[in-house]
């Protein structure tokens, strides 16, 4: 029973995945924030023992399958940013939402950098606007993601 409540984490990741594959008009594509990264950042910050590197890796593989990207591409980006997050989470948790958002922007940018690097190697360079727009939207959305997931976590009595 006590393990059952951790299903909340998986449920939130499934919702994030749905948001990643939800159809958007062509022009809005490049503004789609990396929801899976945002949710993973939250959980690894709140429950670093439970949501760690392997969690990030497998989420990345599932994300790669659903986006049709190279298997391992998003997995690598997510592993790197969750690694940073696991090292810094104690310092970041006490910051205000605005400062946290800037930190999340940096993480999303690193993730985007890894994805763009692999795309570049494969001969599909990402335009500059597309490179910065998604992490920027992710930063602006972070406070809401944080507050919503925190409430969910408290309701589910996860600690």
């Amino acid at each position: 029973m006590s393990q059952l409540k951790y299903l909340v984490i998986y449920a939130s990741l499934v919702v994030a995945l749905i948001l990643m594959i939800l159809p958007l008009p062509d022009w809005a594509q490049i503004y789609r924030p990396n929801w899976v990264a945002l949710v993973l950042i939250y959980w690894s910050m709140a429950l670093p023992r439970r949501v760690g590197l392997w969690f990030a890796f497998f989420s990345g593989i599932v994300l790669d399958t659903s986006l049709g990207t190279l298997l391992g591409q998003h997995a690598m980006g997510l592993v790197i940013i969750i690694f940073f997050n696991l090292n810094f989470h104690q310092r970041i948790r006490v910051l205000g939402l605005a400062q946290q958002a800037v930190y999340v922007f940096a993480l999303l940018l690193i993730n985007q950098g890894v994805v763009a690097w692999v795309e570049g190697i494969m001969g599909r360079p990402i335009p500059l606007l597309a490179f910065f727009s998604a992490p920027l939207v992710g930063m602006l959305i972070w406070p809401w993601v944080f507050v919503i997931l925190r409430d969910i976590r408290r309701k589910a009595l996860l600690r």
Partner: protein
């Protein structure tokens, strides 16, 4: 392995996972071994895909449900009228088809007019913003195979690159990684049309400056390379730019197929 799983040092674990990711990427890019992993995972998340396409489906269904009686009658009338007109045209077409077949026989050509097709519907359109892939609702259980060409009612859309049991991923001709062998109808010049990542543009690079090309020229598949059957419409030339120094012409063409709005597509099975 067990030591790695339990490793206290997160850095070591991260390093291991990064190397693992890179290895998977290389294998996925170079070889076909991971196709089975990919198709199984895709099957596992296919309920999500259906869920995502549900609002559109439900919208259509509700729309049908609430269509009023008079509207239905009106629609019935117009459809009947349309049906009569189409029937008349069809008769003409049948005559033409017969004539065509006769002439082909005269020429000794063994080419059949109709290809074997599978009708499919779109499941989802957009995935990564850097690629142009669509998911269709027919898979290996319906006879779809990797490499089959996909068209809509107005032109070539792309080809199948991954197949699952109930669905298949199709790369559109506008994907930056895709190239399709084409031929100009008017002049017969052969070339290759590359995708540019934009739904409305294909690019034909390095045509000789002396090539006979004009705006509005129609492009069809040339059938070279064996992937696409010949003589399906592909695109229409919209702009021609000359590189006088190197003596090349680069041509931009607009795809005929409605790459961003077609819902029903046809998968063409090549004749053996």
């Amino acid at each position: 392995m067990k030591i790695l799983f339990q490793a206290r040092g997160a850095a070591l674990q991260a390093l291991f996972l990064i190397v693992l990711s890179i290895a998977i990427m290389v294998v996925d890019h170079r070889f076909q071994h991971l196709e089975i992993v990919r198709s199984n995972l895709a099957l596992a998340i296919s309920p999500l895909r259906y869920l995502v396409s549900l609002p559109a489906t439900a919208g259509n269904w509700l729309g049908d449900w609430f269509t009023s009686h008079t509207e239905l009658l009106e629609e019935n009338e117009t459809l009947k009228a349309e049906g009569r007109i189409l029937n008349a045209r069809l008769q003409k077409l049948e005559i033409l088809a017969e004539e065509n077949a006769r002439l082909r026989n005269l020429l000794g050509s063994s080419r059949k007019i109709a290809d074997d097709v599978i009708v499919a519907e779109l499941l989802s359109v957009d995935q990564s913003p850097y690629r142009r892939l669509i998911e269709i609702n027919k898979g290996s259980s319906d006879g779809v195979k990797i490499g089959h060409a996909v068209i809509d009612d107005s032109g070539v859309m792309g080809q199948v690159i991954h197949v699952n049991a109930q669905s298949a991923t199709t790369i559109l001709i506008s994907d930056p990684e895709h190239a399709i062998p084409v031929q100009f109808i008017r002049s017969g010049t052969r070339s290759v049309a590359f995708g540019r990542g934009s739904t409305r543009q294909l690019e034909l690079r390095y045509l000789p400056a002396t090539a006979d090309i004009m705006i509005d020229d129609e492009l069809v598949t040339s059938g070279l390379g064996g992937r696409f059957p010949p003589n399906y419409p592909v695109a229409r030339v919209t702009s021609i730019s000359e590189d006088r120094i190197r003596g090349f012409v680069s041509v931009i063409a607009e795809p005929k197929a409605q790459l961003d709005s077609s819902r029903e597509v046809l998968v063409i099975k090549p004749r053996q």
